[in-house]
């Protein structure tokens, strides 16, 4: 049903980063921060399409591939969860820190192919970060898309990221519904409690003319995909984005392959139909 666009181009050495600057750091949750990045001249480092990736490097410490969660006229946003050596160090830096950035890498969400369709965005935890780039794109081009549903879940209310978007900005958009759930509530939580896949089933979305964009922890993707299937969604109506250990970002270094496809170059965005043809090794 949807065709995923694949393109890549590069003029300068794709493996050498450009020096950029972190201009702003926002705490999203106790372990997720959003880093706003500009070039040293104060411009946007590059113009990614929704779903694309950037290789973010704390020079001398390490490089990591992250999805670009938002972009503006002159900046890129990366929402990064503290999980390993690089991200631990990243969470310690202060605004003004100069970092290395290369990209954009990978393919993009099928923004064109989805035009005229209803959109169902499903995110879990930090999995909302890549999906958010598409959500923002859809709102910027609101008339191109039908009804928009956003389902988002995290472990606890404190772990919900992009709270402004979830509770203020997005619900205010026309013909849009935002459904939030947490695995475990607290005394101040009045919303839904439960896992995302079950919540999706509860909400019982209609598969008619709808495209699903799904990202979260592997186990959530697996069970959401089953739930969606039960509800009548076909494999090619469900788009997801994968992660793998990456080093080069340009399909050379070898490690992020799933079968003969490289997640950094041919992915990270795949439809469930495409994934069904690939070995289940991710």
């Amino acid at each position: 049903m949807v065709e995923i666009e694949r393109e890549c181009s590069c003029e300068k050495n794709p493996l050498v980063p450009q020096v950029c600057q972190i201009v702003e750091i926002t705490d999203e949750t106790p372990d997720i921060k959003t880093f706003k990045v500009k070039t040293m001249e104060g411009t946007k480092p590059f113009a990614p399409k929704p779903g694309q990736l950037g290789m973010f490097s704390l020079i001398g410490i390490g490089e990591g591939m992250f999805s670009i969660t938002a972009q503006g006229e002159d900046y890129l946003d990366f929402a990064i969860k503290k999980i390993g050596m690089l991200t631990d160090a990243l969470h310690e830096v202060k605004p003004g820190k100069q970092i290395g950035l290369r990209g954009p890498y990978g393919n993009t969400f099928p923004t064109e192919g989805c035009k005229g369709k209803n959109m169902l965005f499903i995110g879990g935890g930090i999995g909302l970060a890549p999906v958010r780039s598409f959500i923002r794109y859809a709102f910027e081009n609101r008339k191109d898309y039908g009804k928009i549903d956003i389902v988002y879940g995290s472990r606890t209310p404190a772990d919900l990221c992009f709270k402004d978007d979830l509770f203020k900005n997005w619900p205010a958009m026309p013909d849009t519904e935002v459904h939030v759930t947490v695995d475990k509530g607290d005394e101040n939580w009045n919303g839904h409690v439960g896992f995302v896949p079950a919540f999706v089933e509860e909400l019982n979305f209609s598969p008619a003319d709808t495209i699903v964009v799904l990202c979260g922890p592997p186990i959530m993707i697996k069970y959401c995909a089953q739930s969606l299937k039960k509800m009548g969604f076909a494999d090619d109506q469900v788009v997801t984005t994968l992660e793998m250990r990456m080093k080069c970002g340009i399909g050379k270094c070898g490690r992020c392959n799933i079968g003969s496809k490289y997640v950094c170059l041919d992915g990270p965005v795949f439809t469930m139909a495409e994934l069904a043809d690939l070995p289940a090794e991710y």
Binding site: C8, S9, C10, N13, P14, L15, V16, P17, Q18, V19, I59, G60, I61, G62, E63, G64, I83, G84, M85, L86, T87, G96, K97, Q98, I99, G100, P218, E243, M244, R245, K247, C248, I250, G251, K252, C253, G254, R255, C256, N257, G259, S260, L265, P279, E281, Y282
Partner: protein, 331 residues
């Protein structure tokens, strides 16, 4: 034109004035492509060196850029040096592996500048094989041991001399340089073929459907998970990128990595899509025999037999290929 074997040393001397000339040598007991003029014994008679010449294009450790960092600032300076190199006396299988690396590093959207700079500066001079090792099976993998089609120059061993066939501009430049040494003469070599024959017809396609096959359940146990097979393989090209820090400055480098190592695919947070030797060995064989073919339309196995000889526990890709052949289709 032909080059008498007695003049090979002179020919190498001439080349070495203009470039680093890598020739098959035995250096301290190890056969490898070493710079002509360094200590070692020229060994043009061995079929395969232990270490392939891939180091010339894709060094085990390659510096990419220097950096300086402070608490706030960062500075990056790309390292672009690349010298002229000649690989002399490489075999068809090793030439095939350069073709494979060209496909990886120079196509599919991005050109790898570190590789391409070295590649542009490299001249390849191949020599046909006059005998094969019992572990050689290149002709089963689509490689002709008598002729390396993509080399800049092919030398054909006719006994006491090599017939010189320059095929590209780079090859013709070498021929011009050698002009004073060359004599008129033609000749052919008796073509050889490998004793070890494998039937590769339809194998990549068949393997693609065998990801879940129980063929993988047997044989991986013996693997010790070392990197010998991948490091001595002429075609293995996977790499890792890391930094070497010295206080506030340092150098970013890339180095060979091996899909046989457990941390190769392990992500931050601990998830590893290929957690055991079974998945890792499957990926290696699949990559060699199926995935690469699917992506680049070539066998990533050149049939040189190095891994067959050197695996500490004799894991043998040729026996695996035979085993795949025996599996009934749709079975």
């Amino acid at each position: 034109m032909k080059l008498s074997k007695s003049k090979v040393n002179q020919a190498l001397d001439m080349l070495a004035k203009e470039a680093t000339v890598l020739v098959p040598m035995i250096v301290d007991g190890v056969s490898k492509f070493a710079p002509w003029g360094t200590e070692g014994k020229l060994a043009l008679d061995i079929v395969n060196t232990l270490l392939p010449p891939k180091d010339a294009l894709f060094p085990q450790t390659e510096k990419m850029y220097k950096y300086k960092v402070s608490a706030e600032t960062a500075e990056v300076k790309e390292i672009t040096d690349s010298d002229k190199q000649v690989v002399f006396g490489l075999r068809s299988c090793d030439m095939h592996s350069i073709d494979c690396m060209d496909a990886v590093f120079l196509t599919k959207g991005y050109v790898d500048n570190f590789y391409s700079r070295k590649r542009e500066n490299l001249t390849t001079i191949a020599i046909n094989c006059t005998k094969s090792n019992p572990t050689c099976f290149c002709d089963s993998m689509g490689v002709d041991p008598n002729n390396a089609a993509s080399a800049d120059m092919q030398l054909i061993d006719i006994g006491d001399a090599y017939v010189v066939e320059a095929r590209t501009e780079k090859g013709k430049a070498v021929e011009a340089l050698w002009q004073p040494l060359l004599e008129a003469g033609e000749g052919t070599a008796t073509p050889i073929s490998c004793e070890l024959k494998l039937d590769m017809a339809g194998l990549p396609a068949k393997l693609r459907g065998m990801f879940e096959s129980d063929i993988w359940d047997d044989g991986y146990q013996a693997c010790i998970g070392c990197g010998t097979c991948t490091y001595i393989c002429p075609t293995c090209y996977c790499f890792d990128i890391n930094a070497e820090n010295h206080g506030q400055e340092g150098v970013q480098f890339r180095c060979w990595d091996s899909c046989m190592f457990s941390e190769y695919t392990r992500m931050a947070g601990g998830h590893n899509p290929r957690p055991s030797k079974k998945e890792r060995l499957r990926n290696r064989f699949m990559h060699k025999l199926a995935y690469f073919d699917e992506r680049y339309n070539k066998n990533l196995c050149a049939g040189c037999g190095r891994c067959v000889v050197n695996c500490p526990v004799n894991i043998d890709i040729t026996r695996f290929i035979e085993k795949v052949k025996e599996v009934p289709v749709n079975g």
